[in-house]
């Protein structure tokens, strides 16, 4: 009778060893650097002084900043849900030609760099722009609009993926019993969807409340959220105590949101494969289809305005801005050509996606097991949540943290060129986990048990049972991580960089130089970047993995 016990212990040790790998990476490249910065704030002169931190939290300005963060993020979340849920229905429950393209277009904003979106929005709403008459420039409305622009796709993908999994027969039964379509929706569909909506809403709130570039560019400095405040306190005023106070607050709020997210996900239905089901649109779907058209149009307007200005030079239409990408810009704006930067972006994205895929798959594999004991289940949920933390913690704090903590062997990496892909992998990691884990959980454990009882070892079970189910999800997750890395600007901009910049950095450099030729070239570079990420997402979409971009 001793043997099964031994086998169990060995399996647990194996699991622990496997879990140690991603935990070690997260610890070294996230928890340790962030902890280092917070420590500097709490121990300003080497002595522990929590009073200083508490004092910060009583300041009027901090209260204003907190309130602004909460209400803009809250309002953006509500709007994203209102715009996204009907769109999720049309793009995931109906079936019509061109649907896949629409699904791809919806995700493009999510993977665009904030610097591009900031410029695109400002061109539209600046008093001289096409939407200048609305008087949105420099108002909180502009910030909210941009936050919604980024995050609608999260709602569409998350709710859409769940919607596909809801058993249609319940709805049909209700309809047969005489319920009106509205009643069916309210009493059957909506309760089933609620966990997905709650899940999407908490993630959107998380993204909105930690948004940086958008608030800085579109807020015109009149408005600050917690993230921009940490940036100002750290990079300009060197007030680490205040910055640490806000960072800790951020981590507490994010942890709360992650717990809420976990609760919401627990009651979710199993995942269906995307694109397998769906009916043709009917006449009564018309309002929803119209709604979707409006949403897609809203999302595409800033991108189209960018495309138009990239094709204009000196009042005429031309491709000159695109040809200029082979050079270094007017008046030596760049040290290297934009095409080289694109190449560099691809290299970095391959490294980042590779690392995120390996670590994310391990995490997804572990959290998708269904342990019997409640204690282990809680442990697994915590493990899952820890890897979501990088989404909610200030990139400034992380960037500065790298510098003060990763300075001795074996982690003497603070100025290594590997830091950019590593930081981007930390950002992409949760997205990989959220793509792969649902697919792995949907595999019936009895299949694995059957394989094992037929004599297959653990490795063989993985190859024969898990892989055939999961390879699409792995490929899709890799593609998604790749696209996210291509457009990543926030974390990258706070790291020490060498003289081979990535594409988003080049775009930023171009718009920071005078001369309309450089500005035109920046818009062309932004269009190329958007097209590249769009193309990657189109391939990902073909893999038909519902959980991509869903939470």
């Amino acid at each position: 009778m001793a043997r099964p016990d031994h086998a169990l212990t060995a399996r647990r040790l194996g699991t622990a060893a496997l879990a140690a790998v991603p935990l070690a990476v997260l610890g070294a490249f996230f928890l340790y650097p962030v902890g280092g910065m917070i420590q500097r704030g709490f121990w300003p002169d080497g002595a522990f002084d929590p009073g200083g931190v508490l004092d910060v939290l009583t300041r009027d300005r901090v209260h204003r900043v907190l309130w602004f963060t909460v209400w803009t993020a809250g309002l953006s979340t509500i709007l994203a849900v209102v715009l996204g849920v009907p769109t999720a229905f049309v793009l995931h429950r109906l079936r019509f030609p061109g649907q896949r393209l629409l699904r791809t277009l919806i995700v493009v904003p999510f993977v665009l760099p904030t610097v591009v979106v900031g410029v695109a929005f400002r061109q539209l709403i600046a008093t001289s722009g096409p939407l200048g008459g609305l008087g949105l420039d420099g108002t909180p409305a502009a910030i909210v609009a941009a936050l919604v622009f980024f995050n609608v796709s999260v709602v569409v993908r998350t709710v859409g993926a769940f919607w596909e999994g809801i058993d249609r027969r319940t709805e049909e039964a209700a309809a047969t019993l005489g319920a009106s379509p509205a009643r069916v929706f309210l009493t059957v569909t909506l309760p089933a969807l609620a966990p997905a909506v709650a899940s999407a809403a908490s993630v959107v709130f998380l993204f909105c409340s930690t948004s940086f570039g958008i608030v800085l560019t579109l807020g015109g400095l009149r408005y600050a959220n917690v993230e921009t405040e940490i940036y100002l306190l750290t990079t300009q005023e060197l007030d680490l105590t205040s910055a640490a106070a806000l960072s800790v607050l951020q981590i507490v709020v994010v942890t709360g949101l992650l717990v809420a997210l976990h609760r919401a996900r627990r009651t979710a239905p199993p995942l269906a494969r995307a694109g397998e089901s769906g009916r043709s649109p009917r006449l009564r779907d018309l309002p929803l289809v119209g709604w979707t058209v409006v949403v897609v149009a809203l999302l595409m307007t800033p991108l189209l305005s960018l495309l138009v200005s990239s094709l204009r030079t000196d009042g005429g239409w031309s491709l000159a801005n695109y040809r200029a990408l082979q050079g270094t810009g007017a008046d030596n704006a760049l040290l290297d050509t934009a095409t080289h930067a694109l190449q560099r972006s691809f290299e970095v994205a391959v490294q980042a996606a590779g690392l995120a895929l390996v670590l994310g798959t391990i995490v997804a594999f572990l959290v998708s097991r269904r342990p019997r004991s409640a204690g282990v289940r809680r442990l697994s949920a915590t493990f899952d949540g820890v890897f979501m933390l990088p989404l909610g913690v200030s990139a400034v704090t992380l960037g500065f943290g790298f510098l003060i903590t990763l300075n001795r062997p074996p982690l003497d990496l603070r100025t290594s060129s590997l830091l950019v892909p590593i930081a981007q992998a930390m950002v992409a990691l949760p997205l990989v986990v959220r793509t792969v884990a649902p697919v792995l959980s949907s595999i019936d454990p009895r299949q694995r048990e059957a394989a094992a009882s037929l004599g297959a070892g653990p490795a063989r079970v993985l190859l024969a049972v898990d892989l055939p189910h999961a390879w699409r999800a792995l490929a899709a997750a890799a593609g998604f991580a790749f696209a996210v890395s291509l457009g990543e600007f926030g974390a990258t901009s706070f790291l020490a960089r060498d003289d081979t910049p990535t594409m988003p950095v080049v775009i930023y450099q171009l718009i920071s130089h005078p001369g309309s030729a450089n500005f035109g070239m920046a818009t062309a570079a932004a269009v190329v970047l958007a097209a590249a990420t769009g193309a990657v997402m189109l391939v990902v979409e073909r893999l038909r993995v519902g959980s991509v971009g869903a939470f």
């Binding site: 800085l216 060197l238 920071s512």
Partner: protein
């Protein structure tokens, strides 16, 4: 199946312990170690020097310069302060007169002044840096720029002075980057403080009443809101540099469509220095010497849009005529900036975000 797992655990434990021990190890002795032929230079994001110039330095000295960009001048200075016990690089370029005394006071820098310096360099030396920590390399004047074409079309005389900017005739025409998020924005705030003294807050209230628009960064103001910028905005008065007008010479034209108001300028001087505790201080010193030579100085205007501190250096075509520097820029002592910066910025922020 059990042995490999045990091995793996033992190995991970060993790695962890090794890592912990390495963390506690003492610094290696630095005595007379030969210096590396590759030096690292920390800069701000606007570093933009022709690679040929750097290659010439390597040819002359056998030393290769590795660059490390660290954000704007503020982020650069603060990163150096945070890492002063274990410096990131051998030297720094790009600390300006608004952040310089913070770097010196925090002990970030080692003393070094090149033996031979062009005569004009002295006039750019940092007030209060008598010990010689920083060497001036270049300077630029942050000035209000106006779109002359716009004013000509409207038959309105462009503004000339700070007072004019608060004149109702120029209501809703000015756009500036913010002082808390942009280094030219801070320079503009300092220019108004240097001009109006303790009354600067009244002046800013007037500017706000007159509809000044405050953007996050220079590119938001110049490229999106300025009428002569890349995005063709609707404000013909913008904060930029005295070197910006030559870039607005239209295709086929020979005169810029904008000009700088030379009575509204604040002078930013950029310095280079050797970091305290650098691994290769001697080789870094050679590079600082090189930065003050004719070759490097002459390449500054075309690459970084700044003026060389060696004022005998010939300027590119058009600069003499269209990008003159301010004869009398507004001066605020560097030590006063370091002392009061946080207060000024807080007051400015409270004033503008009311």
């Amino acid at each position: 199946m059990r042995t490999p797992i045990k091995k793996f655990i033992a190995a991970s434990a060993a790695v962890t312990i090794a890592a912990a021990l390495a963390g506690c190890g003492s610094d290696e002795p630095k005595a007379d170690r030969p210096e590396s032929k590759t030096i690292t230079l920390a800069t701000h994001d606007s570093w933009n020097m022709d690679k040929k110039v750097l290659a010439d330095f390597t040819e002359q000295t056998g030393i290769t310069v590795k660059l490390q960009a660290h954000g704007d001048a503020g982020a650069l200075t603060n990163k150096l302060v945070l890492t002063k016990d274990d410096p990131l690089a051998d030297g720094v370029f790009g600390i300006d007169n608004t952040f310089a005394t913070r770097a010196i006071d925090e002990g970030v820098l080692a003393k070094y002044t090149p033996m031979v310096l062009p005569g004009s360099v002295k006039s750019f030396a940092l007030t209060g840096d008598d010990a010689g920590y920083l060497t001036p390399i270049d300077y630029g004047d942050v000035c209000i720029n106006v779109d002359d074409t716009w004013f000509a079309a409207k038959k309105l005389a462009p503004p000339k002075t700070f007072d004019d900017l608060a004149d109702p005739r120029y209501k809703n025409l000015l756009v500036v980057p913010g002082a808390t998020s942009s280094s030219p924005g801070l320079a503009f705030l300092l220019a108004t403080i240097g001009t109006y003294g303790d009354d600067w807050k009244d002046y800013w209230s007037d500017l706000l009443d007159n509809g000044v628009k405050i953007d996050a960064g220079w590119s938001d103001a110049y490229e999106v809101d300025f009428t002569a910028g890349g995005g063709k905005g609707d404000r013909p008065i913008v904060l930029s540099y005295s070197s910006s007008p030559p870039f607005t010479v239209p295709e086929g034209g020979d005169e810029p469509t904008t000009s700088a108001l030379l009575d509204t300028c604040f002078r930013q001087v950029e310095y280079a220095g050797v970091l305290a505790g650098a691994k290769n201080p001697k080789n870094m010193q050679k590079f600082i010497d090189f930065m003050t030579t004719r070759e490097f100085q002459a390449a500054l205007p075309d690459n970084m849009y700044v003026y060389p501190v060696d004022t005998t250096t010939p300027l590119p075509e058009g600069w003499d005529t269209w990008a003159p520097t301010a004869p009398k820029p507004v001066v605020v002592p560097a030590s006063e900036i370091t002392e009061k910066r946080a207060d000024w910025l807080r007051e400015w922020r409270d004033l503008t975000t009311r």
